[in-house]
Amino acid sequence: MLTFLYKLLLLFVEFFKTGLFAVGGGLATVPFIRDMGATYGWITEFELANIIAIAESTPGPIGVNTATYVGYLVCGIPGAILATLGLVTPSVIIIILVAKAIRKYSDSYLVRSLFRALRPAAIGLITAAGFSLLLTSLGVSANFTRFTFSANWYSLLKFGIYGVFTFFAFWKKTAKIHPLFFILAGGAIGAILSL
């Protein structure tokens, strides 16, 4: 019983640390979790790869999914809950503080000019993230720093499907359809064509 409680506490603390130091979203948590595996023997390298694959293809933030999975493996349902809360708590505290500060100074000239430059850069970053997500989804692996590129015929088919979906997402008559229907249609097409 005591070791169980100790493990729960340890899960919370370890994932709290991860949430505090992993900057850049879900996948940034991976090195921390690998480290936990090495220190406490909670997960093997092979399990970690499986967890990431599952976390990426199920709904929800990848970091949250991974924390829930590891927590469950270590301590069942209580572990899943505490690991996830540990991961989320630093985010919530930090963002509340930042939001407070922004609210307080939102009329200040400097904050406004800060965001004027930040906004286009943020869109550049989102575009880059979307671009790399697209490459992964197409089954293309490309490294722009080393100029390597590889793809297969399926990538071309997938690109065609992506093109059709993009057309519907832009076309005025279909753009207002709820994202859920795009997701359902994507799943159906994936099953039919064995993507």
Binding site: L20, V23, G25, G26, A55, E56, S57, T58, G60, P61, I62, V64, Y72, I77, S91, V92, I95, V98, A99, I102, Y109, R112, L114, R116, A117, L118, R119, P120, A121, A122, I123, G124, L125, I126, T127, A128, A129, G130, F131, L133, L134, S137, T145, Y162, F165, T166, F168, A169, P179, F182, I183, A185, G186, G187, I189, G190, A191, L193, S194, L195
Partner: protein, 177 residues
């Protein structure tokens, strides 16, 4: 907006986002900007910018921001709990019983198709934000530089956000004096 409604809205977003932080963007635009008009596109872009360079999961950071804007601290907590509820239950189920199901080939095919649809939705959403923000040469230069630094340069988004913030501050300061 009531706390209950806020929770349910983020519950919906959390259960529909597949593929990590950015897959919530089309849902956020649809639900928060267009349907409920809680925040503007500009505010959403600001939130995403800060969410990327602060520690933690991007989706949680964004949810906390929106929740705070609607109902302060309580709203921030409720929105974040909304995002994690369904994924947590689902993952615990998978870890407990459904693991063999994930190994069926058809499941992989379904998710491969879903990802393509999600990418198309993200493309349209990013274009919406782009059209609104990138309106002249300066903003286009900032957009392009940020994109290239991350994709070709392999530089962490954290430094790109910090760099852009410094440029904005310096620019504003220079203009004033």
């Amino acid at each position: 907006m009531s706390l209950r409604k806020l929770y349910l809205m983020f519950l919906k977003i959390g259960s529909l986002m597949i593929g990590g932080g950015y897959s919530m963007l089309p849902l956020l635009i649809r639900e928060l900007v267009e349907r409920h008009k809680i925040i503007t596109e500009d505010e959403l872009t600001d939130y995403m910018a800060v969410a990327q360079c602060t520690p933690g999961v991007i989706a949680i950071n964004t949810a906390t921001f929106v929740g705070y804007k609607v109902r302060r601290v309580l709203g921030a907590i409720v929105a974040s709990l909304g995002v994690i509820t369904v994924p947590m239950i689902l993952i615990a189920l998978i870890a407990a019983v459904l693991k063999p199901l994930m190994e069926y080939e058809i499941v992989a095919h379904i998710f491969a198709g879903i990802r393509l649809a999600v990418c198309a939705l993200i493309t349209a959403s990013v274009f919406k934000l782009y059209k609104k923000t990138v309106t002249n040469v300066t903003t286009f230069a900032l957009f392009l530089l940020a994109f290239l630094f991350v994709t070709v340069g392999g530089i962490s988004p954290v430094f790109v956000v910090l760099g852009a913030a410094i440029i904005g501050l310096a620019w504003g300061g220079l203009k004033k004096c």
